[in-house]
């Protein structure tokens, strides 16, 4: 099933929960628009209050949009109550019916529609319990189960009537980290086995990147960027996305100089990091891109961009920690085009690497290192690894 949102807005009285909040918008503009393809695993990710759960509730039919249209396979869902939408919903707090047994919970949806595969109800319940690996739990009281087990029951219950669309609202938030990772794998596998269109809501960007076919990063009631996890990670289109998705170092400065640059370097840089070509528009590599000199707090940093930038513009750009190389030896020659001298503030050992927080001038930077560091360090990065996310014309 294909899900489409067209300019969807939600307001509670004067408060805009979903849609652009700036003044001067007509009520039908500035809403949320996106499309989820058949069988796609689509994630809405963003901080608290960004509108992602509101979006999910509108899709489920628990609330009605103030403006805009939601379509299921092209059908306008306006006025269709939740029970007639064919959606399965899993909530963060499981919302199992405490007065019904596990099996009765799973069977509840089958009171209103026949099992989709023509099976009899008991078989359907048994096969779903089997699917979530809780075959023996049918007679149990849901409150006797652990959180992870309850969440799997909630998933089985949501899937039992054979919904066309699965909606998951922060399903892992109440679980501990390790369980979360195991359960999200399980969900992903079940989802791809069933091929069910899924909208997943989370505030955890790492989870979003790990599980999704595509993600929509939401902020302040609006969709900031939609793309595959890789595209969003590599080519954030706004300062918010750059800062929200993954660790990042964000700089802001004034363009001192714009120089044309040959295509060869650019291609090398992309090939050198072993990454596949990016799909986001405006970043088709190969063409000659300008090389910028940017003044960041008095230090000149070189940055590549395909955007149309002129001297005197202010730009925001970011560099991922993994693209910053640390030189213990201050005198060592730097390979990259940019060199920064910074002081170690703290190191976090992550197992496979170490995350190092540095003080550079008046800001904090994050880099990755194989070894623990302390004292003063020199870091460098290539201009091609700096990604311009915003520019303000002079």
């Amino acid at each position: 099933m294909k899900l489409t949102l067209e300019n969807v807005r939600k307001e509670y009285g004067e408060t805009v929960a979903l849609g652009r909040r700036s003044d001067g918008e007509s009520r039908t503009d500035g809403g949320v628009t996106f499309e989820v393809g058949d069988g796609e695993f689509f994630t809405l990710v963003g901080p608290s209050g960004c509108g992602k759960t509101t979006t999910l509730r509108l899709v489920a039919g628990f609330d009605s949009p103030s403006a805009g249209i939601i379509r299921f396979d092209g059908r306008d869902m306006r006025g269709v109550p939740p029970e007639d939408r064919g959606v399965g919903v899993v909530f963060q707090n499981y919302a199992l019916f405490p007065h019904l047994s596990v099996a009765e919970n799973v069977a509840y949806g089958l009171r209103f529609s026949d099992p989709p595969d023509g099976a009899i109800r008991d078989q359907r319940v048994a096969s779903l319990l089997d699917l979530v690996d809780l075959s023996n739990a049918g007679d149990r009281d849901p409150t006797e189960l652990s959180g992870g087990q309850q969440q799997r029951i909630a998933l089985a219950r949501a899937l039992a009537p054979g919904p066309d669309l699965l909606l998951l609202d922060e399903p892992m938030s109440a679980l501990d980290a390790r369980l979360r990772e195991r359960l999200r794998m399980q969900i992903k596998e079940i989802q791809s086995t069933l091929g069910i269109t899924t909208v997943y809501v989370t505030h955890d960007q790492e989870e979003a990147l790990a599980i999704s076919d595509r993600v929509a990063v939401m902020n302040d009631g609006e969709v900031e960027q939609i793309g595959t996890p890789r595209a969003v990670y590599r080519h954030p289109e706004s300062r918010f996305v750059a800062e929200f998705v993954g660790d990042n170092n964000v700089f802001e400065g004034t363009v001192l100089d714009v120089r044309p640059r040959n295509a060869e370097n650019r291609t090398d840089a992309a090939a050198g990091s072993g990454e596949s070509p990016v799909e986001t528009k405006g970043f088709g590599g190969g063409s000659a891109e300008p090389d910028l000199a940017v003044d960041v707090g008095g230090v000149e940093i070189r940055v590549e961009t395909s955007l149309d930038v002129s001297e005197g513009d202010r730009v925001v750009f970011c560099v991922r920690p993994e693209h910053m190389e640390v030189r213990r030896d201050e005198n060592a020659r730097s390979d990259g085009s940019n060199v920064l001298d910074a002081t170690v503030v703290e190191s976090e050992f992550l197992g496979d690497s170490t995350r190092v927080y540095l003080q550079w001038r008046d800001r904090e930077l994050t880099v990755r290192s194989d070894d623990p560091l302390d004292g003063d360090v020199r870091i460098d990065f290539d201009a091609a690894d700096a990604h311009v996310v915003e520019r303000l014309k002079k």
Binding site: F91, N93, F97, Y108, P116, L145, S146, G148, A160
Partner: protein, 623 residues
């Protein structure tokens, strides 16, 4: 988004998977591959039978989808027909005098020092004292009923409903016999060598009588809340170092306060409109506003009566609104998954604390004996006493009246049968009404408290005004489309009882519904349940305690109701037990008290029976 989980009583013991051997907890995807696509109907393979079945299902869904709206519409219609319209026919006299719109009657009440200061002032004062007394007398009862285990506890709780059905004349008789100059209390005090007390014809007598009626109400609602306190919350507080007293104050008390508040609010509203117990025990120098409303209506001085009633109602409605705003802000923290264990009334060891609390219980028991048992026992005694001492004459009179009474006379058996029939009928109407209103007003929307208040208004309007309104609005009927529409007899009685009783269901159910996790309903609906199915399948079983508690009040209100019944049963054989009590009042009190005792016996028996059933169905917090 990532806020704390809302308590819905289903939180697991731990979030990590427990070492539960019976349930596999490995995390590979199950092998069973499911056939996914939902058949959305219209598959060609489907036969005519399944088409017909799906058509029937569609119809059922359509009906169900509108069931709640329909329920709300029916509730609104019933309220309109047997409450708002009738009351309006009386209130209109306050603003329409001789066909002219005027504010004169209301202004003259509001500018009268006599009415405003002497009457409304005193009415509010005695209501306040009565409320305080009812809370003070009710809370220890709640404590004992909810925290102690003893034989007959359930039955005792059932019997706390009795004051609700006591006709005021019976209470007056019982109080005189108990608290009078020659009453039982003074006899006991005299035997103990203590000086006698003069309670009758004082405000204290009124306050105690009001506590007699309303302390059980406070006790019942507080008991239900107390039994819902989750033991683990208290244990957590204790484990964090809180003393038992501190744990009570920090954990238990906040969960009791909303219940105490509703009990206190209702007590104030009821005692604010109290009549005629005030005159019977206090005398006319302690007259309340309702005395004057009655007097003006009796003399057909409708403008003044209506103006007084409008002001009275405005005060009660204002208070109700204020309470409902408070209730809306202070939803409790949900039902406990596990109630606190009860203590035995006979402690295992007589520590200082255990001894102290047992002494307190005994002291409270003596107060209960005086305030509740005394008057009721006196009434029973009166029914068994003649000029020559003990006699069954009064009961024999009832027997004789049953056997030889003429059709136009009131006979006991039809009165009993009618009372029970109306009680059951009222349950069937009032419980759905109360639940519908609770569901509607649990949702957050602008003006929620105002709608809720309108739905509560039957508590706030003078019974005398409602009675007159029913006479005008229903008994006389309305000319419409060339015919005179009238509503009288059994159906009208049940409807009027339901209107007067359903707010009890709403008030018992709404806070519990408000505590339920809204995602339970949303889950059910996304699984295909209509709103009303989600209500029946999910919400009602989870708030059964509140439904049953409300139903108990409904039944009792119906059994005890007099004002509307006597108006609507006019000229028919629909009289009830309280009407029979009134009819049997004569030169001697015996026959009326005998009928009053039968009223109490029938009510007690009903409640003990319902308790067995309701206790099974509704669990704790019910009868």
């Amino acid at each position: 988004m990532s806020g704390p989980t809302r308590g819905n009583g289903s939180s697991p013991a731990s979030d990590g998977d427990s070492g539960d051997s019976s349930i596999s907890d490995d995390h590979d995807v199950g092998s069973g591959v499911l056939n996914v696509p939902r058949t959305d109907g219209g598959s060609e393979a489907e036969g005519a039978l399944s088409e017909a079945r799906s058509a029937a299902a569609t119809l059922r869904r359509r009906v169900e989808a509108r069931a709640l709206t329909l329920g709300a519409a029916v509730t609104a219609l019933v309220l309109l027909v047997v409450f708002y319209y009738p009351v309006a026919t009386v209130f209109v006299d306050a603003v329409f005098v001789e066909g002219r719109l005027t504010v004169e009657p209301i202004v003259s009440v509001l500018t009268s020092r006599f009415y405003l200061v002497d009457i409304f002032g005193f009415t509010a004062y005695q209501a306040l004292l009565s409320t305080i007394a009812s809370v003070l007398l009710g809370l220890p009862g709640a404590w004992i009923l909810s925290r102690f285990e003893f034989p007959g506890r359930e039955t005792l709780r059932s019997l706390t409903i009795l004051p609700f059905v006591m006709p005021s004349i019976m209470v007056a008789i019982g109080f005189v016999a108990t608290f009078g100059r020659n009453g039982t209390l003074n006899a006991v005090l005299g035997a103990l060598g203590l000086p006698p007390v003069e309670l009758l014809f004082t405000i204290e007598a009124i306050v105690i009588a009001h506590a007699f009626y309303n302390a059980p109400l406070v006790a019942r609602v507080t008991t239900a809340a107390w039994e819902s306190v989750d033991a683990s919350a208290v244990e957590t507080a204790r484990s964090l170092g809180a003393s038992p007293t501190r744990a009570f104050r920090d954990v238990v008390l906040p969960q009791l306060l909303p219940a105490v508040a509703i009990g206190a609010t209702l007590t104030f509203v009821f005692t604010f409109a109290s009549f005629p117990i005030v005159l019977a025990l206090g005398g006319f120098q302690l007259a309340t506003v309702e005395v004057f409303i009655y007097s003006r209506i009796q003399n057909l001085a409708y403008a003044e009566a209506a103006a007084l009633a409008v002001v009275e109602t405005a005060i009660s409605v204002g208070l109700t609104y204020w309470y409902l705003r408070y209730e809306g802000r202070n939803r409790g923290s949900g039902q406990g998954a596990r109630p606190q264990p009860r203590q035995s009334l006979w402690p295992d060891s007589w520590t200082a604390k255990a001894t102290g609390s047992r002494v307190a219980i005994i002291g409270y028991g003596l107060v209960v004996l005086a305030v509740f048992v005394g008057p009721i026992a006196s009434m029973v005694l009166t029914s068994l006493t003649g000029p020559q001492g003990l006699t069954l004459d009064h009961y024999l009179f009832l027997l004789e009246r049953q056997q030889t009474g003429a059709s136009y006379q009131v006979r006991p058996l039809p009165a009993i049968a009618n009372s029970l029939r109306f009680g059951v009928g009222t349950l069937l109407v009032a419980v759905p009404m109360g639940v519908v209103v609770a569901v509607l007003t649990t949702r957050e929307f602008r003006g929620r408290a105002a709608i809720d208040t309108l739905a509560m208004a039957p508590f706030a309007v003078s019974g005398i005004v409602v009675g007159l309104g029913l006479l005008r609005g229903l008994v006389f009927g309305v000319d419409a489309f060339g015919t005179r529409l009238q509503v009288t007899g059994a159906i009208a009685v049940v409807a009027a009882h339901a209107v007067g009783a359903y707010p009890f269901v709403t008030r018992n159910v709404a806070p519990l519904l408000g505590n339920l996790d809204p995602r339970l309903v949303e889950s059910a609906r996304s699984l295909g349940a209509s709103r009303v199915r989600a209500l029946v399948d999910i919400e009602l079983p989870l708030v059964a305690a509140g439904v049953v508690a409300g139903a108990a009040f409904v039944f009792a209100i119906s059994i005890g109701e007099f004002d509307s019944t006597v108006v609507l049963a006019e000229g028919s054989t629909s009289y009830t037990m309280p009407v029979a009590v009134e009819r049997y009042l004569g030169r001697r009190l015996g026959p009326a008290t005998a009928m009053g005792c039968i009223l109490l016996a029938v009510t007690s028996l009903s409640f003990v029976i319902i308790e067995r059933f309701g206790g099974r169905y509704g669990g704790r917090g019910g009868f």
